[in-house]
Amino acid sequence: MQGKENALTKSQLIDAVAECLPHIHRTDLETAVNTVFAGMTKALKMDERIEIRGFGSFSVRRRAAKEGRNPRTGQPVLVPSRRAPVFSPGKELKARINGAAAAQDGDSNVA
């Protein structure tokens, strides 16, 4: 079910970005990438929606309180309402990710 277990960490992402921008110091790129995600976290904290064209959007959704259960004892517990970040990939990125797969097995798409 899960895709390939190939995973890149933040520092590997920075390495890859550094290859595209050889004239910029890695340390500065590190600060930049950290700033990008710190700023996004801050915006979400303020319930602000984030829209990155070509990539996708992040928003905050409120989850209602519900009655859960302690899986070990079966005891009902109240799960309080909470806020959850939600990501929705943009049209371009969705197509690029799926396009690569469709090209591989030559499947046609169904609307």
């Binding site: 899960q2 895709g3 790129l29 996004m40 915006a43 806020r83 690569a100 797969a101 169904v110």
Partner: protein
């Protein structure tokens, strides 16, 4: 918040020009897109993981007409927020 705001943040944080800050931010998202397009996962500690999942084909139904259609196998991108981000939103 848009990409312009993110560029502004980077500009305020490091001593680069607006143009260079924009170049960096574009490169970050472009690189992420390339990685995800290859089907690889990205783990941003403190923020979350971007995961490409393979979906098998299945029989779906047009909810309007009830007509059965086959939904093809496809790849979708999902985001799993890290515990740190979840906690930050509920602090």
């Amino acid at each position: 918040m848009t990409k312009a705001d993110i560029i502004e943040n980077v500009y305020a944080k490091i001593g680069f020009s607006k143009k260079e800050s924009a170049e960096i931010v574009e490169a970050v998202f472009d690189t992420m897109k390339e990685i995800l397009e290859r089907g690889e996962k990205i783990k941003i500690s403190g923020f979350g993981n971007f995961i490409v999942r393979e979906k098998k084909s299945r029989i779906g139904r047009n909810p309007q007409t009830g007509e059965e259609i086959e939904i093809c196998a496809r790849r979708v991108l999902t985001f799993r927020p890290s515990q740190v981000l979840k906690t930050a939103l509920n602090g």
